[in-house]
């Protein structure tokens, strides 16, 4: 029994082994300590990151010290989260952040007021999964269609693709995915009813969004809206040609179908009072918007023909008879002004937009100005209306000519009058589109405190009433759909916290948005993208301007699948692929580390993307040494090492050789050891995400007979990557073969039977399969992940038809020893080729050698007992005490089935599961049918593909290289029937068919 030491951790007494570090002692007692460089596998602490600091009070007083390299001592008192400890940890993290360069999230996502994961949904679209894209969007907003059609898309302003040629069409991609989803909408999970009732005043973007998220929490929600239809300014402010009413209605219906109710044409202050609503409901959210147009009080503003732009739009959308002149002047150049001008144009007027600043300074999105110009709208910049002229009705505007002066508070150059210079604009209607405000008087009458004409914010979306919250325009002033929906979501969470009695402790869920390094466009320049292949933006088809000004029909036609994928592929993937795994980010978040606290020099080192699946970004390296130690002390390969000294110290491959040229088959393992995105695993598929794992499956890697314990990360039903299982026995590592090929083909996998004809692959029924096999001698080749149960059934199938059965390399020898003997070996012999089959044996062998084993060159010299020989299959002379490495997961097991060495003269070849053979001797067989889980990209000669359940979906046993029997656990659901059922059915069918009575398809 080992010597125990008693100590106190955070006031709790505990006893731990004498040789433990304080870090281990804390972990044993489930106390969290952050660390970026500690590796459980390597005994000696590294002591590099200095984040694992704790306070230790011992005989020599109190001190703050690293816990990884401080051994426990009798009677010490450890405190892990004192203020000082946290301050020191924060300092360590801040220093690391000060040299950590890259984008944690991409600029598009950083800029999104609705906090959408832009890079994520674009990646899903690029990978052909619009349904996954929509789900990702709808985690943050129910208004996917509205945003897709009418968002002002600040993301696109930040898109770095512009530095290569043009920004991504982010809004249109969202539109594509969202409208596809309308056909068969995704169904979110709704919590059980809480019995709490919330009243929401206003059914615009903020109100609808809040209603949706509150409903998902299980509350009962009613919206009160003054208009006859829901949607607020989305319905009444944005014209149909931009956001079609029918699409909006379908989107709103989908929200209401979650169980939200609404009372229409019910106006606060007229039909009910806030007081009444508060009595009735557990909480109230004010989202009444901003409906009052601003009118500039210049001389003549009260003349007939002068109107607020918003009033004009609302009247038009409400179906009111519109009286509009022939010459319309629109004042202002924001989004609303563009809508106003374009509606007026469609009503038949000649339209001039008058703006006192320049086009570059205009708040309207560039694209909307462009479209307005296409439609024949005239723009006059640097003109400031001074006076509206006319007798009763307007006949013109006198404008002062302006020029740009010094920058104002907004940072934009301020327009100043050119003395004495004016311009007269002739018009009979003036539409002022310069802004809107909430109905202040009304709110004040209801007892709501205001500040600068919006509702006074008491923090956490609260108002002066503790049960009343506010969001959207009424709270922050005129805002976009994206801002309002973001507000609505966050306000919903605040209301929810209030309803749960947690509002005092509630912190709005703020995404970790710290951009590390070069987020701003002025820091990245076109030079940075000079080598980027030019991919022009895939323009979404639109109606011709001449046609579109004739009516209010939608102007965008939408992307086809191909266009959407092509556009999505243009994404440069600026955001870090390790966003969801990065420990630096996790801890920085936890301890509020400020990224720019210690400002100073940063390196901009070249990114090495030479390896197909691992990208090395030295700018994100924090020099924790995990990869270097893994490479030296675990693999013994030395793929990476430290170079230079001081601040210039970096990690690099020997002689700066690109990672892609390394012969190591454990590069992915280095990426797994990296706590940041300095070594990023690039996921399978066109775009690697990043995708947040929604689920994990604890299973085995079936890449070879070692069957290393592995965790499969799943995102929205699809496995995205393999990582070594947390408490993995064996080496605790995965080789590149296992890690990078196990999920290959998942992307294109097809779930129906196909057969080839001269025009390519055609969908076929089960009968076709049976007919192709009946009355034929069927030879079977078993793939690497064939289970014992499948093997037996397939043996039966082959024998039923008089055929033969084999595996790609049938085993001659089975292992006689297991992992325990290997780890505890005194002497070892390793035959050539073993590491090639199972590279992870290197790590296990290293453990045995570190434990005192010796290596011998002659298997006959191995002591008995104590010696272990490691052999490749078909070894000439394996010893009795042996482990046989098999390239197939079930290699050892399949040997037990008594397979043939080679195949006889069958007529049909049946390949089962992942047969690691891409070149088949097609000539000798009439027909080759592959039973597997893959796409249509199959070798020539294969005539049919029958989808079967994969290793992540099937049950069964396998016997691995170490002689262990492993039960597979199906972690993923499958629509396919079980493999055993399919085989039994097939055997029965083949048995029951009487010999040849005519065939035919």
């Amino acid at each position: 029994m080992s010597n125990k030491i008693s100590l106190e951790i955070n006031g709790k007494k505990c006893a731990v082994d004498a040789e433990k570090s304080i870090l281990d002692a804390c972990r044993d007692n489930d106390i969290f300590i952050p660390t970026l460089c500690e590796m459980e596998e390597i005994d000696l602490p590294y002591g590099g990151c200095r984040v694992c600091l704790v306070e230790v009070e011992g005989s020599e007083g109190k001190e703050i010290t690293t816990s990884c390299d401080t051994p426990v001592e009798e009677g010490i008192k450890v405190k892990t989260e004192t203020e000082e400890v946290i301050a020191e940890r924060r300092a360590a993290l801040e220093l690391l952040l000060s040299e950590h360069t890259g984008d944690c999230v991409p600029p598009c996502t950083y800029e999104c007021p609705a906090s959408l994961d832009v890079q994520g949904y674009i990646a899903h679209i690029a990978n052909g999964r619009p349904e996954a894209a929509v789900k990702l969007i709808k985690e943050k907003t129910p208004l996917a269609v509205s945003l897709g059609r009418a968002c002002f898309a600040p993301c696109e302003d930040q898109c770095r693709r512009e530095l290569a040629e043009e920004p991504m069409a982010i809004r249109q991609l969202k539109e594509y995915a969202a409208e596809k989803d309308l056909e068969d909408p995704w169904e979110p999970e709704i919590h059980g009813d809480t019995g709490k009732e919330v009243g929401i005043v206003g059914g615009g973007p903020a109100g609808l969004t809040a209603a949706y998220f509150l409903r998902l929490e299980g509350h009962s929600v009613t919206i009160y809206d003054q208009m006859s239809e829901l949607g607020g300014m989305m319905r009444y402010g944005i014209p149909n040609y931009r956001l079609p009413n029918d699409l909006l209605a379908r989107e709103i219906d989908w929200i209401m179908d979650r169980g939200v109710s609404a009372e229409m044409e019910t106006k606060l202050g007229e039909d009910f009072t806030l007081e009444e609503l508060r009595r009735e409901k557990d909480s109230v959210l004010l989202a009444t918007g901003a409906w009052e147009s601003w009118i500039i009080p210049i001389p003549g503003h009260e003349l007939e023909g002068v109107m607020g732009g918003t009033d004009f739009l609302v009247d038009h959308s409400s179906g009111k008879e519109m009286e509009i002149g022939d010459e319309v002047a629109v004042i202002g150049c924001g989004g609303c002004a563009m809508d106003t001008a374009r509606v007026a144009k469609r009503l038949g007027a000649d339209v001039t937009v008058v703006y006192r600043r320049t086009e570059e300074q205009a708040p309207a999105p560039e694209a909307e100005i462009e479209e307005a110009k296409e439609e024949g709208i005239e723009f006059k910049f640097l003109l400031s209306p001074e006076e509206i002229t006319g007798e009763e009705r307007v006949d013109g505007i006198t404008c002062a000519k302006m020029e740009l002066g010094e920058p104002d508070e907004s940072g934009r150059a301020k327009p100043v009058k050119i003395e004495g210079e004016t311009e007269l604009i002739s018009c009979d209607t003036v539409l002022m589109s310069i802004g809107e405000s909430p109905e202040a008087e009304l709110l004040e009458t209801e007892g709501v405190e205001l500040e600068d004409s919006t509702i006074k914010n008491y923090g956490k979306y609260r108002t002066n009433y503790e049960d009343v919250f506010a969001a959207g325009d009424t709270s922050i002033g005129p805002s976009s759909i994206a801002e309002s929906t973001g507000q609505g979501r966050e306000a919903a969470y605040a209301v929810n916290a209030y309803l749960n009695g947690e509002i005092d402790d509630y912190e709005p869920p703020e995404d970790f948005r710290t951009p590390f390094g070069y987020v701003h466009r002025d820091e990245k320049t076109t030079e940075d993208f000079a080598d980027e292949e030019e991919l022009p933006r895939v323009e979404m088809p639109r109606r011709d301007p001449e046609k579109r000004i004739k009516n209010f029909e939608p102007i965008e036609h939408g992307y086809s699948d191909e266009e959407a994928v092509a556009e999505a592929k243009r994404c440069l993937e600026c955001g870090c692929l390790d966003r969801y795994e990065c420990e630096l980010r996790e801890y920085s978040d936890r301890y509020d580390a400020r990224q720019d606290y210690y400002e100073g020099e940063r390196f901009e080192r070249e990114i090495d993307d030479s390896h197909p699946r691992v990208e090395r970004d030295p700018n994100k390296c924090i020099l924790c040494g995990s990869c270097v130690r893994t490479s030296e002390e675990v693999h013994g390969e030395g793929e990476l090492q430290f170079v230079n000294r001081g601040f210039s110290t970096k990690v690099a491959p020997p002689f700066e050789q690109p990672l892609g040229e390394s012969e190591s088959e454990l590069i992915g393992d280095l990426a797994d050891s990296c706590p940041t995105g300095a070594l990023e695993e690039v996921l399978e598929g066109e775009k690697p995400g990043p995708f947040e794992p929604s689920k994990t499956i604890e299973t085995r890697c079936l890449g070879c007979g070692l069957t290393c314990p592995a965790t499969v990360e799943v995102n929205q039903g699809r496995p995205i990557r393999l990582v070594p299982a947390e408490n993995g026995t064996y080496g605790g590592h995965l080789c590149d073969k296992g890690k990078f090929t196990s999920l290959a083909g998942w992307q294109d996998r097809i779930n129906h039977i196909v057969f080839r004809n001269k025009n390519g692959w055609k969908k076929r029924g089960w009968d076709t399969v049976v007919r192709a096999l009946e009355e034929r001698k069927v030879d079977v080749v078993l793939g690497r992940a064939t289970t014992m149960e499948e093997g037996k059934l397939l043996r039966k199938l082959a024998r039923t038809t008089g055929g033969d059965i084999t595996a790609i390399s049938p085993r001659e020898y089975r292992s006689t020893l297991g992992l325990e003997e290997l780890r505890g070996a005194e002497a070892l012999y390793v035959e050539d080729g073993v590491y090639k089959i199972s590279p992870v044996f290197k790590a296990i062998l290293k453990q045995a050698l570190d434990g005192g084993a010796t290596l011998t060159n002659d298997p006959d010299e191995l002591p008995d007992p104590g010696g272990v020989g490691l052999f490749a299959p078909r070894s000439e002379n394996p010893t009795e005490r042996r482990i046989v490495a098999s390239p197939e997961a079930n290699g050892n097991g399949l040997t037990q089935l008594g397979l043939s060495e080679s195949l006889g003269g069958g007529e049909v070849l049946l390949l089962w599961d992942q047969v690691a053979c891409r070149e088949l001797e097609a000539d000798t067989y009439e027909t080759i049918i592959w039973f597997g889980h893959m796409g249509e990209d199959l070798p020539n000669g294969v005539d049919g593909l029958v989808p079967i359940r994969s290793w992540l979906e099937k049950e069964g046993r396998i016997v691995n290289s170490l002689g262990e029997t492993i039960e597979l656990t199906p972690g993923l659901d499958s629509e396919l029937r079980k493999n055993a059922e399919l085989l039994r059915d097939l055997i029965d069918s083949l048995k029951s068919r009487t010999p040849a009575t005519g065939r035919g398809m």
Binding site: L44, P45, Y46, A92, G646, F647
Partner: protein, 586 residues
């Protein structure tokens, strides 16, 4: 009595750099050409760097004459004077040791042979009682030696001052078949050359100390980790090891005692951090020289995983003396807590720089003013930096501090390995702090966050300040970050790196504030903060205004010119071209 005149030429790296090889060549030539009965001899460092190259002449009757600052021509004149005229020669003669307080205030224990014997001749070492301590030591048990060393109060001369005897007892207590003894000769402080001189002057003292230490702790293999930039030291060590082996002091069954021990030299590539014990061991093992956390301590699990004892050159070179003369005599030299002497490399703006050895407890003032004769050029003393980049700068008010481990630490500096850099009124203390921090920053192994990034961020603040872009909050930031680096760095390099900044902030804050608030560098060092001014001495010759590249100087011919400070780019052209030195830096 000797028959010949013996002439010793200081032939250590310092002497060679000053021209000793030429002097020695001239000497040989003179002897040969004139058939003089003179025995020339190369010896190690005499200690008077400020007088190099040096030559000491010893007449058959024992009288000695030392000549310094020699040039080749002087050699024949000295020989002619002594041999033919029986008199000394002119002003190159240095006063005799007994009446030259450069020496009177010193006490040579470790350096007793340096500059006296030919380091390449073991016989000369033997003549001066060499290896008698070893003979004595081999007769007693290792534990007795350790007790003797404990009693002597010898403390580690590498800087930390850990009691050597105690350290040895840890290594002795570790149970293992294989133990190592390492001599740390990776002297890396800028301006420090104690260990190099010691090895070059008396390599056998080190070897003898190592063998005794190995016997005491039970080590059978020793390494001397010496930087490759010390070729002469390495050469002399190699010679000495060969000689010691052939004399039976090294190798199997030393002097028939049954004790075996041998020494290997391991060359370092000059990384400062390799002076740190764990980094040094990693380096010997062929790994990157990076420190590792302790525990495990070297005494338990050191080189190649075996118990290891590491001592600095000077520490080990003290050992034979202690064995020969006893602990009490040694203890009497030093202070209550620390026995013996300490060797310092006295450098910087000092009138008489060199290698000095003083009893521990001697005051800074005695060293700098009595031995070193104050600041060169009759300028004012400003500060003294002790302990190299890990140490601190002490001002005039601290000059009465006795050099001892505790007193120096209290004052904000450290004893260190013996670097002592003296600064005068022309030195800018912010610039000095920046210099040392720049050194440690570049020499950081890069492993731990606080050292790698923290020192860099401190350095950047200092750079801002010397560039005139500093702000008052920067001092707060320095004061806030520095203790974090000290507390949280993995090894001594990082833990001490902020010292120069902290001590200069402590004693010379006003100088920092001058930079920050008045954009001026009082010492006139920081280029961005210098202002050029034309004085009353201007004769109005117009040269400066003609040469000024930015036309920043105006003035009528014949009258005083003025520099437009807004326009001035501080290139210094005006100062260079002024015929009457009427341009000054403020």
């Amino acid at each position: 009595m000797k028959e010949n005149i013996e002439i010793k030429v200081g032939y250590a790296s310092c002497g060679i750099a000053a021209g000793a090889a030429e002097i020695y060549g001239a000497l040989k030539r003179e002897i040969k050409e004139n058939n003089y009965r003179v025995s020339p001899k190369k010896v190690g460092c005499v200690g008077m760097c400020h007088k190099e190259p040096l030559m000491e002449l010893e007449l058959p009757d024992g009288t000695r004459f030392t000549y310094g600052n020699l040039e080749e021509d002087d050699v024949s004149k000295i020989l002619v004077n002594h041999i033919h005229k029986n008199r000394s020669y002119g002003d190159k003669l240095i006063p005799g040791k007994s009446d030259y307080d450069y020496f009177t205030k010193q006490k040579k224990v470790v350096l007793r042979n340096s500059g006296v014997i030919d380091p390449e001749e073991i016989d000369e070492y033997l003549e001066r009682d060499g290896y008698t301590a070893l003979e004595e030591a081999l007769e007693v048990d290792g534990s007795e030696i350790i007790q003797l060393i404990k009693d002597s109060k010898l403390r580690g001369r590498g800087g930390a001052g850990f009691p050597t005897g105690v350290k040895w007892s840890f290594a002795r207590a570790s149970d293992s078949d294989q133990k190592y003894l390492i001599c740390n000769a990776d002297e890396g402080d800028p301006g420090a050359f104690m260990d190099r001189s010691l090895i070059e002057g008396d390599p056998h003292a080190l070897l003898e100390g190592m063998i005794i230490a190995a016997h005491a702790i039970g080590a059978d293999k020793g390494y001397i980790y010496c930087r490759a930039e010390y070729p002469l030291a390495l050469e002399r060590l190699n010679i000495a090891i060969g000689q010691a082996r052939s004399e039976g002091f090294l190798g199997e069954d030393i002097l028939g005692s049954g004790f075996s021990f041998d020494i290997e030299i391991s060359k370092g590539a000059g990384a400062f951090v390799c002076g740190e014990e764990t980094a040094l061991m990693n380096s010997i093992e062929g790994e990157r020289g990076m420190p590792s956390p302790r525990p495990p301590y070297p005494a338990q699990k050191g080189l190649f995983g075996q118990p290891t004892n590491i001592n600095n050159v000077e520490t080990l070179a003290n050992v034979p003396w202690i064995v020969r003369n006893g602990a009490e005599e040694y203890r009497e030299i030093g202070t209550e807590n620390s026995g013996g002497t300490k060797v310092f490399a006295l450098a910087g703006k000092i009138e008489r720089g060199g290698l000095v050895e003083v009893p521990i407890g001697t005051s800074l003032e005695e060293i700098i003013f009595d031995i070193g004769n104050g600041i060169e050029g009759d300028k004012d003393f400003k500060a003294v930096q002790l302990g190299g980049p890990s140490g601190g700068c002490l001002p005039e008010s601290q000059l009465d501090t006795p050099v001892d481990y505790e007193t120096l630490t209290d004052a904000g500096a450290i004893m260190g390995s013996g670097g002592m850099i003296v600064m005068g009124e022309d030195d800018c203390m912010v610039d000095v702090a920046k210099y040392f921090l720049d050194f440690t920053q570049e020499e950081s192994c890069g492993k731990c966050t606080f050292c790698r990034v923290g020192t860099k961020r401190m350095l950047e603040i200092l750079e801002r300040i010397t560039d005139g872009e500093g702000e008052r909050e920067d001092l707060e930031k320095l004061r806030q970050l520095a203790p974090k680096i000290e507390r949280n760095s993995l090894c001594g390099l990082g833990q001490t790196a902020p010292n120069p900044v902290l001590t200069t902030l402590r004693y010379f804050e006003d100088e920092y504030l001058e930079h920050i608030e008045n954009d001026s560098c009082p010492a006139g060092v920081c280029r961005h903060l210098i202002t050029y001014k034309i004085t009353d001495g201007c004769i109005g010759c117009t040269t400066c205004s003609e040469e000024c590249p930015v036309d920043a100087i105006e003035g009528e011919k014949g009258s005083r010119h003025v520099i437009d400070q807004e326009e001035c780019i501080k290139c210094g052209t005006c100062m260079e071209v002024c015929p009457v030195d009427a341009v000054e830096v403020v």
